[in-house]
């Protein structure tokens, strides 16, 4: 089984069947991660380059682990220690990596559309580990996997995404993935962080709500985004303190949501800014399960994209 795609750059074009295929495969790979020997030979002989132009803890380690668990050969590129310091362009960097015959490029880059640009000249398959403010498909997929484990399906489920929607690739990819599967999405945040015409995004659109309590009163899950100070040249909000008072998810705020509302956060967290300490560590939060699922989802994506390059999976029982 495989995805009939060369690249995974955005979730907007994925069908419900494709998303289901990825989540089903991820569930199988999660079993591998429970074993003592966490390895399958599925991608033996496949070479993967992790090209990270932006800092990352979770995503990067998660991809590396996924690749190692699949027995792939990996090479790592980090902007800070590369010839980017000597002024080498993205195109030259990628073409040089390509010349070393890599099969898959997993890339994170600060420019929206960087992967679309790369696909103009790269023969290798491309997996988007985050581009600018545009997309972060594997994050949305692991968020969806975490929800599906608890719900079984998505139809009619209400998910509220809270925070700096304008600068969030996590929000955009979640909107595409969740609406495709029939969930109802609300976005909540200050007007200065709400992009124009966001209500039209996704399959069927989303609801925009500026009042936090109204936004979560019937939410089955909330996804709390980090306030991304490194993406803002100008202050879109007067202070962290004010953000916490208006949009911070505290235990008191959470009491307005249904009692079984699931609390998610893509990480890294600014404790005390967008999410209170007690909420992050509380019983409704699934933040660490999200991270665990991230490795499984990325194993699934890489395996399904590698297609003919992959050997068949031997799953021993």
């Amino acid at each position: 089984m495989q995805l009939n795609r060369k690249n995974l750059i955005d979730l907007d074009e994925l069908s419900a069947d494709e998303i289901t295929l990825i989540l089903d495969s991820a569930a199988k790979f999660k079993e591998v991660l429970q074993r003592k020997i966490k390895k399958v030979p599925a991608l033996r002989g496949v070479t993967i380059a992790n090209v990270f132009y932006e800092p990352s803890t979770r995503t990067r380690m998660s991809f590396e682990l996924a690749e190692k668990r699949l027995s792939a050969d990996i090479i790592n590129f980090s902007k800070a220690t590369s010839s980017v310091k000597k002024g080498e362009s993205l195109r030259d960097t990628l073409e040089n990596i390509q010349a070393m015959k890599v099969d898959i490029v997993v890339m994170r880059h600060g420019s929206s559309g960087a992967h679309t640009f790369a696909s103009e000249f790269l023969e290798a398959k491309i997996v988007n580990a985050g581009d600018g403010q545009h997309a972060h498909p594997t994050q949305a997929l692991l968020d969806m996997m975490t929800l599906r484990e608890r719900w079984g399906g998505f139809e009619g489920k209400r998910v509220t995404i809270i925070g700096d929607i304008m600068h969030s690739r996590v929000a955009r990819s979640n909107i595409w993935g969740l609406t495709r599967m029939g969930a109802l999405v609300t976005v909540c945040g200050p007007p200065t962080m709400m992009p124009t015409a966001i209500e039209k995004l996704g399959h069927g659109g989303v609801t925009v709500e500026y009042d936090l309590r109204k936004a979560i009163v019937d939410a089955d899950a909330i996804n709390i985004l980090r306030i991304q100070l490194e993406r803002q040249e100008t202050k879109l909000f007067p202070s962290m303190r004010e953000y916490f008072e208006v949009f911070g998810v505290t235990p008191d705020v959470l009491r307005d949501a249904p009692p079984d509302c699931i609390v998610m956060h893509p990480g890294p967290m600014n404790r005390g800014v967008e999410i209170a300490q007690e909420v992050a560590d509380g019983p409704q939060a699934v933040i660490l399960p999200q991270v665990e699922n991230g490795v499984a989802v990325r194993m699934a994506v890489l395996f399904l994209l590698a297609g003919s390059a992959a050997e068949s999976v031997e799953v021993e029982n």
Binding site: G113, F117, E233
Partner: protein, 433 residues
């Protein structure tokens, strides 16, 4: 019949003469003598001893006049030179081009004006008019010596590429320019709202995760400049108008009697923001491609005279410049060689404009707007003419155009309507066929 080439006096016969002043296209012939139009006859064939250039039914229009092009020399010769830029202009039907001041060094000193005019004369492909800078270094601070710039040959002033942010400076610039009879061409953009933006702010920019410029950014600047034009009585020319709101502001200002003229580009008239969905850098331009409503408003504004003319804003960039991540790519597209073809295909064949209206917007319109000579086919006028085959289909191809750069979204796109060549002061210059 004698050969017409390099003769001082000859007839152009069998043409369809399109003179905007006459308002229609009529079969006829034109006699050229010593670089001037000596006679116009409303017959296809002429009984004469003079040599004959047979137009074979092609449309003969006044030579086009572009009041907004970046020839990039001095300083950016990797993108374009005056030689290649004017060659592209001639291939596109232009017998005159007004070039902008954001060169390196900028045209803030008379020596640069003279340099450009000399290089243009050496190239000899078309006439070049020069815009001097409004402020020194285009820094928006100190106004230049407009009198010296004018004496050296400048016919207008512009800091195009940038908006003069300081209103007091812009007021002084307009007042001083008024004294010298120089129009000020304004690139209207609120620098703060537009900082770091990549395309029009709207659903497409949200979907792509690109920072967008709201229409208000242009409208705020248009509004301010119109009020200063009103205050000072100077002639303001608004460059590359792109939004409905700007059109409304200019319309109201004209009604009040403010001395404002305006231009729109072929790309803003034919393309819109939705086409950027694949992060195509060849569509990245400033001001950005806008919404369909804005495009409709611009077209209506051309028809009712709110916008006086079409100007290309020809902005060449090299492959090295444009083959990068979207947010790193400089904005701009070439336009001199493709302007007529694009507008003819989209607006005339699209049924919204007739041919004579389009030609008027490329000739008489710009001449009138900025007080430049030309734009008509009249006895006594210089024989600056464009010969056009409106039915010829062609496809712009990388490396086959006269511009040094290939940054146009029209590569590989079939267009209908081609300039066969121009007469520059009676001298025939074949097009790029």
């Amino acid at each position: 019949m004698k050969d017409w080439k390099d003769k001082k006096e000859f007839w152009i016969t069998g043409a369809k003469i399109a003179d905007p002043a006459g308002g229609r296209i009529r079969a006829g012939s034109v006699c050229v003598r010593k670089g001037e139009i000596a006679e116009i006859a409303w017959q296809k064939q002429i009984d004469s001893d003079l040599p004959v250039f047979d137009a074979e039914g092609a449309v003969l229009a006044p030579g086009f006049i572009d009041v907004h092009a970046h020839l990039r020399e001095p300083g950016f010769e990797d993108k374009e030179t005056i030689e290649t830029g004017t060659a592209a202009a001639a291939a596109g039907g232009y017998t005159a081009v007004l070039c902008m001041a954001n060169t390196d060094p900028p045209v803030d000193d008379p020596s640069v004006v003279k340099y450009i005019l000399r290089r243009a004369a050496e190239a000899g492909h078309c006439r070049v008019y020069v815009a001097g800078a409004v402020t020194k270094g285009l820094a928006g601070s100190d106004i230049c010596e407009y009198r010296h710039l004018k004496e050296a040959g400048a016919v207008a002033l512009s800091d195009d590429g940038r908006w003069v942010v300081n209103s007091r400076t812009m007021r002084s610039a307009l007042e001083y320019a008024r004294m010298l009879g120089l129009p000020v061409i304004a690139h209207c953009e609120d620098s703060f709202l537009a900082a770091g933006t990549q395309m029009n702010e709207g659903f497409t920019s949200t979907r792509l995760g690109l920072k967008g410029t709201p229409a208000a950014s242009e409208e705020i600047a248009v509004s301010r400049d119109i009020m200063l034009a009103q205050l000072t009585g100077a002639h303001l020319h608004v460059a590359h108008v792109s939004t409905k709101g700007s059109v409304d502001l200019i319309r109201a200002a004209k009604r009040r009697g403010v001395r404002v003229t305006a231009e729109a580009t072929p790309h803003h008239l034919a393309l819109d923001e939705t086409m950027l969905a694949g992060y195509d850098r060849s569509l990245k331009v400033n001001p950005p491609l806008r919404s369909r409503e804005d495009v409709a408003a611009l077209r209506a504004a051309l028809k009712d005279g709110t916008i006086d003319c079409i100007a290309t804003d020809h902005a060449p960039h090299s492959e090295i410049d444009k083959q990068v991540e979207f947010d790193l790519a400089p904005p701009g597209m070439t336009g001199l060689e493709t302007a007529f073809a694009l507008l003819h295909t989209e607006l005339v064949l699209g049924g919204q404009f007739d041919m004579i209206t389009l030609l008027s917007l490329l000739t008489a319109g710009p001449a009138r707007a900025l007080g430049l000579p030309g734009g008509t086919i009249a006895v006594g006028a210089p024989a600056d003419l464009a010969l056009i085959d409106p039915a010829m289909k062609w496809i712009p191809e990388r490396g086959k155009m006269r511009s040094r750069s290939n940054n146009t979204p029209l590569l590989g796109r079939e267009l209908t309507g081609r300039v066969l060549g121009i007469f520059l002061e009676g001298s025939w210059k074949p097009g790029n066929i």
